[in-house]
């Protein structure tokens, strides 16, 4: 991030190559269109540059910070459209290999993505729904509880448990190919 903050083109390219696909995908899921998703990518990188000197590594990983900046912008976009509810759709497009990445890096990323998707499918319906409402729709746990018809404590537990289960999935050893 220091190099990015110092306006080094190479650092900007690295940052883009690492995070653009997840930011773009977030835009597709939350904002529902390719145009809005592309705008989200551009707006996110602009915000990352303008706040680069505010990133504090001691407070968390760069990846989390970048994703939450993008998500915050996407939620602002949603609020501007005064949308109260969305049907979340996946595009169904698998992650494609970037021409800039080497084969080992592609394989590792796809392995991680596969494990992540398996972890998502391992969540209960309730956990998945609560997490999607909290993450993609920016709902508070109280709003999740109301929408799902569950107690507040249950909503909090489902969101927390879902995130911890997903994290455990990445802690597992990759399968031997």
């Amino acid at each position: 991030m220091r190099a990015f903050a110092a306006r080094e083109r190479g650092a900007a390219e690295d940052l883009y190559d690492r995070f653009a696909s997840r930011i773009y995908g977030l835009g597709i899921v939350m904002l529902g269109s390719d145009a809005a998703a592309q705008d989200l990518v551009q707006d996110t990188f602009m915000k990352l540059w303008r706040s680069a000197d505010r990133y504090d590594p001691s407070r968390g990983k760069l990846e989390t910070w970048v994703l939450l900046v993008a998500r915050s912008l996407a939620i602002d976009g949603l609020r501007r459209r005064v949308l109260e509810s969305r049907v979340l759709e996946r595009t169904g497009r698998p992650a494609e290999a970037s021409p800039e990445r080497g084969p080992d890096e592609v394989a590792e990323t796809m392995d991680l993505a596969d494990r992540a998707r398996r972890a998502m499918s391992g969540l209960s319906d309730g956990q998945r729904a609560a997490l999607e409402l909290a993450y993609f729709a920016g709902k508070t746990s109280a709003e999740v509880a109301e929408l799902e018809g569950i107690p507040l404590g249950t909503a909090k537990t489902r969101i927390r448990t879902a995130l911890l289960k997903l994290r455990e999935a990445l802690q597992e050893q990759p399968r031997d190919v």
Binding site: A5, G25, V29, Q42, G60, K61, T140, R160, A169
Partner: protein, 236 residues
Amino acid sequence: MTCDEVREQLAEHLLGTLEPPVDAEVQRHLRGCAGCRRDMAALAEGVSTLALAAHDVEPPEALRDRTLSTLEDEWTTDPTPARGLGRRMMWLGRAAVVVALAGALAWGAVASSRASRFEAAAHKYEAFLGILGGENVRVGQFDSSTTQQFTGSVVMYDSTVEQSWVLVLVRAPGMQGTAHVTLRSDDRTIELRPIEFEAGGEASTWLVTSSNLKAFDHVSVWGDAGIIATATLESD
């Protein structure tokens, strides 16, 4: 808050959906609890996994050049020095200024002024700090969120070395009692000392800190029924 209470709130704190006063309490607890910080780091890894699973989609190739070109345009037109390099500051001199200003506030010099002088004072502070390093000064005007008349200003001085501070000056005719004031960034909230309205509805609060305040760009004033007013801090 206890660790059990904080753990219940950590997911929402991470996702930024907690009410600011509660968020500030969680933040305060995390600063002093390694165990809860580890718990939060685990949840953050869950967010990363979710991102990989749910929304990792390769964007159109043309977007890469477009985004990087737009960044370069921004770099070309942004007159500030490359961020992170900073200038060497006369720390003792600036710290002395901050202490003097904080002292003046503590003596009630500002609290006894009328609202019009409050706003003039805020602009004078801005001009004064501009002499010291204007690119680190930000100001904001409050917009009322209710039918209550509410005016005021926020001045924030971001220091690249040590002390940063923020000054909040407001006037709300007819308001009594106290209200909470919070500073907010994308992922953090800091609670300032509460403001206490005087007979004319004037009130003030401030914060002097060694923390970096550059990420904070919203100031909100809260009553029992919710937000009373909000100011957005604009850069020079």
